[in-house]
């Protein structure tokens, strides 16, 4: 759905995520928006971005968006194809990967993520979600984590029902206590803008807004009493070049 501004919320989120990726970085990519963002970055300002998929492909260079994490085009274009144990043990765990993308069914003010259950108890939940996948160790071991998720009061909660992946735990010092060696989530990209962690409290603050987004909307769509920066950064809309590159990628990818 394209808004009157000429681009969709998904496109705005994808472009914002792509901009966060510097050339030459190594990036652990999931399917969906993260994959679109990483491939957009590679097609525009970051031609040497290294795409790593948990299916075991390092340096994949797809010319369309992969349809699944195990899409054949990933293996066919990768620098190296390795086993799933190796991708986690030799590449993710030792901290070789700069950026990991995560989604979330729930995220709390300290960036802890739930993708396991909502409501009820663990054995008989109201909603059973897919679970952890690669997320706990991506959250632990990547140098930094970027979360991409739409901002709603149901998703942005004071306290998650289950901690699938640790952000900053209960606050400052928790990552160190838990032995998590990456820096944790450095930004949450939503359909309203970008939240970044307060360096003192580790609480996420809305520090950048997308064009046309009012502070009031942010408060309404956040389940905790979210702080908004006094002078939030105004995120520029997608440039024509960014939009064109993203749409070219999508056009080359039927079914995505």
């Amino acid at each position: 759905m394209t808004s009157m501004t000429g681009y969709t919320a998904d496109e705005m989120m994808t472009v914002t995520a792509a901009r966060a990726l510097a050339d030459g970085m190594t990036c652990f990519v999931g399917i969906g928006l993260p994959s679109a963002a990483a491939n957009l970055a590679r097609a525009t300002h970051a031609p040497h971005l290294v795409l790593i998929y948990e299916s075991g492909t390092i340096g994949a260079k797809p010319d369309r968006l992969p349809l699944s994490i195990g899409d054949g085009i990933l293996a066919q274009t990768a620098d190296a194809v390795i086993s799933v144990p190796e991708i986690f043990n030799y590449w993710l765990q030792p901290g070789r990967i700069d950026v990991g993308f995560l989604g979330a069914a729930q995220i709390d003010k300290h960036g802890n993520i739930n993708s396991t259950i909502v409501g009820g108890d663990y054995a008989r939940p109201q909603v059973r979600l897919p679970g952890a996948g690669g997320a706990p160790e991506i959250a632990a071991s990547c140098t930094e984590v970027i979360v991409i998720v739409r901002q709603t009061p149901r998703t942005f909660v004071e306290k998650v029902d289950f901690i699938t992946s640790v952000g900053y735990g209960a606050g400052p010092g928790d990552r160190e206590r838990l032995g998590l060696r990456g820096r944790g989530p450095q930004r949450i990209i939503t359909d309203l803008g970008v939240l970044t962690p307060d360096p003192r409290t580790c609480e996420f603050t809305m520090t950048a807004l997308f064009p046309g987004v009012a502070a009031e909307t942010v408060s309404q769509r956040t389940g905790w009493d979210v702080a908004i920066a006094a002078a939030p950064q105004a995120v520029p809309p997608p440039s024509p070049a960014e939009l064109a590159a993203l749409r070219d990628l999508r056009a080359a990818s039927p079914g995505v």
Partner: protein, 274 residues
């Protein structure tokens, strides 16, 4: 030496009620045809192990084959929920489903430990997550050199592992390539194994990125062309993404699922595409 037999015979010989069964394949090479044969043969009380249950286990769970699921990510990739899995966990239908839940890194290492004949593996993982208190096969371990606290996960040792591969030779040596996931470890961690293949050839010429499982490390090989459908076998078939999308509506409703099961599994013959 692996025996080359029909799919029906391979599953009948290898899979028994109450077994712990791993069917692996990371998006690629998922052994769907073998899964359907397990349903057709009416196996019950299985403990199913798989990193990504995917549609194959949604089908087995919905068909009532499973007592327990051991897994790390239970969704329909790119589409949404596995509704039969959710129905079993949320409502106990068609029977209650015990779960043992891990992360991908943990499951991968559990297979590695199984393949290596070790009772556990060590990783940096799970710290601070809710899984630690829910899953008995996750424990803390201390490095005897540095005193550092790490995580231990128990090895998996399936009774049977089932995988799909591109091909085997007439001696039963198996070759797979492309994204090969955790299949080698899954086969080596199991007591018995079944490999379905796209074709049986005279000679396995060397391939880039190929994994070879020697015949003597495999129990049964069965020729099942398109046996990974709706998953795929690189250089043989393509992934049926529409099937994955269509599955959402089929699996969402118990009756629709029941009809699908009758038409596509129970009344299909071993190895026919479904």
């Amino acid at each position: 030496m692996a025996e080359i037999v029909s799919l029906e015979e391979a599953i009948r010989s290898a899979v028994r009620d109450g077994d712990t069964v791993a069917m692996e394949g990371f998006t690629h090479l998922i052994p769907f045809a073998a899964g359907h044969e397990v349903i057709r043969q009416g196996r019950r009380d299985l403990t199913l192990i798989r990193m990504t249950p995917d549609l194959i286990y949604d089908q087995l769970i919905g068909a009532g084959c499973a007592r327990k699921l051991v897994f790390s990510w239970g969704g329909n990739p790119g589409v949404g929920s596995l509704h039969r899995f959710r129905d079993a966990v949320e409502h106990g239908w068609p029977r209650p489903l015990e779960i043992e839940e891990h992360s991908h890194a943990g499951m991968a290492n559990r297979y590695v430990a199984g393949a290596a004949g070790l009772p556990f593996a060590v990783l940096r993982g799970y710290n601070g997550t809710g899984l630690v208190s829910q899953t008995a096969t996750i424990r803390q371990i201390t490095c005897p050199f540095t005193g550092e606290r790490l995580t231990a996960v128990a090895a998996v040792r399936p009774d049977v592992t089932v995988i799909h591969a591109q091909r085997a030779d007439r001696d039963g040596n198996v070759q797979l390539w492309g994204i090969t996931g955790v299949q080698k470890e899954a086969v080596l961690s199991a007591q018995r194994s079944v490999v379905t293949v796209e074709e049986i050839v005279a000679t396995l010429d060397a391939r880039p990125n190929a994994v070879v499982l020697p015949s003597w490390a495999v129990s049964y090989v069965a020729r099942v062309p398109n046996g990974a459908h709706p998953s795929y076998a690189l250089d043989y078939t393509v992934r049926d993404n529409d099937y994955y999308v269509a599955w959402d509506a089929i699996a969402r409703d118990r009756e629709t699922f029941g009809r699908w099961l009758d038409e596509n599994v129970h009344h299909a013959t071993a190895g026919s595409p479904a």
